[in-house]
Assembly symmetry: D2
Homo-oligomer: 150 residues x 4
């Protein structure tokens, strides 16, 4: 049942992009910990900023013909998070396909990894999957968690 985790994924230094998150009062649910989907929001926030460094600050503008679509999101919860803990999200890429790719992230509390997230995304232009441009591909290659093996 449990997911095998590459030790590299548990190390903040493996990730190209670091984003600080403060847990908020409203993130806590009735079980007294930060709600699972509130944690998922931390990944989303970090991923948005991380990807703006690749696709540009206007990547979410409706006028932009390029759109990045989430097709699968896999989140692992390794330990509970509580308010008002401070957290850091590490973000990088772990797979580069033709039009699809994987953004892999980890959540850290005091340097300890408390969660993982893998988002599979697809580059879409005019509603159809479109190959990643060479320029984007180069920027992404510099942000890989591990060198891609052929």
């Amino acid at each position: 049942m449990s997911r095998k985790v590459d030790p590299q994924r548990l190390d903040l230094a493996s990730y190209a992009h670091h984003f600080s998150v403060d847990t908020q009062f409203g993130d806590v649910d009735s079980l007294g910990h930060v709600n699972n989907l509130a944690v998922a929001r931390y990944y989303e926030s970090a991923r948005a900023r991380f990807q703006m460094g690749v696709f540009g600050d206007d990547m979410f503008a409706l006028a932009n013909p390029l759109r990045v679509v989430l097709v699968e999101n896999r989140t692992s919860y390794l330990a509970e998070v509580h308010f008002p803990q401070a957290l850091v999200v590490g973000s990088g890429f772990s797979h580069l396909g033709n039009s699809s790719y994987v953004c892999s992230q980890a959540l850290f509390r005091d340097g300890v990894c408390v969660g993982l997230c893998d988002a599979t995304l697809v580059s879409v232009v005019d509603g159809k999957p479109a190959p990643l441009s060479e320029a984007h591909r180069q920027l992404m290659a510099m942000r890989m968690i591990a060198p891609q093996t052929a």
Copy 2:
């Protein structure tokens, strides 16, 4: 990259529990569709009610020694959802382990499956994984998506 899906998973009739969801204005994000994590909330809401039918209405009470902990959440987005569409979430179990199990769900719009979710959960008592009781196991067995093969 894309996930192979058992056709059974795309059929609402496969799921023991049906829960109606109205999309809300606040669920829409800047891309003009229902936000991915708002969709994840629909699954969470349906899962909470579905599981209350197995573990009891007090399953989220802090005084309850039994706690069900989410360890992994995997969500697939098959099609966009828009406000003010009406949706139905189907919920069932797809795996019963000793203390862990998988709750599998699907989201339907006008009978068409637009998303899937698989949540791996663990039964915990006093902070430690604890085997599912025979009573719970029987209730869960009646709500399987497919007969478990030995």
Copy 3:
């Protein structure tokens, strides 16, 4: 400190529009009740649907030159709400100005009013306050909580 409330505001029959809301697991906060801003979301959801009956189903479309802007939101909490209670939001108008108006709402649990909300909104065209059209004004007049006195 406490707000004087017109008894009419506490009666669901005073409101032109009724909207059913199911509380959700994720709406509950660490205090064990439905979070105050989750309650505010119920009002927002009901208000969106209520206003679509006046301004049209495309009122939130970005292409629509008319935009309704919230300038003030005042929410009163009369009693706690808990999961999984079922609620009803009543919505009506309580003031019609030239370009601004007030949408007044109340939240009911088993017929008892547990909260009030007054949203002051302004009709805006091309970024500037614009008088409400006669057609809209007539539709709004039919949905007043009380006849407006001159």
Copy 4:
């Protein structure tokens, strides 16, 4: 219709407590700006941390007999907020009653006030309004936006 605002309320220096907020991708709604209730979350987050400086870090613990209950929340929107702008929330007290009080806040973008919030709260012990202790009252008096007149 429009609220008269004391100029002091528009000045960050009037507030005892400052809290930095980063807007997030998920806070943006279909109108392309930060959703009104996402803004309300910023105030809630700042208010929670501000009040922990008065009532203690355990103020939200369920075991704490003292509970601070929100009875009214009034939020004014002076200007739109967009992602990924950085904001600051200023928090102070503007009224101290026997058991009730008002926490007044303002939201700033590049030093310009873009919103106001006034939350009326009541100190409750064992479910009943209870006078604020002298110790809490002193801590609150030091955090007033303006000296209270007798």
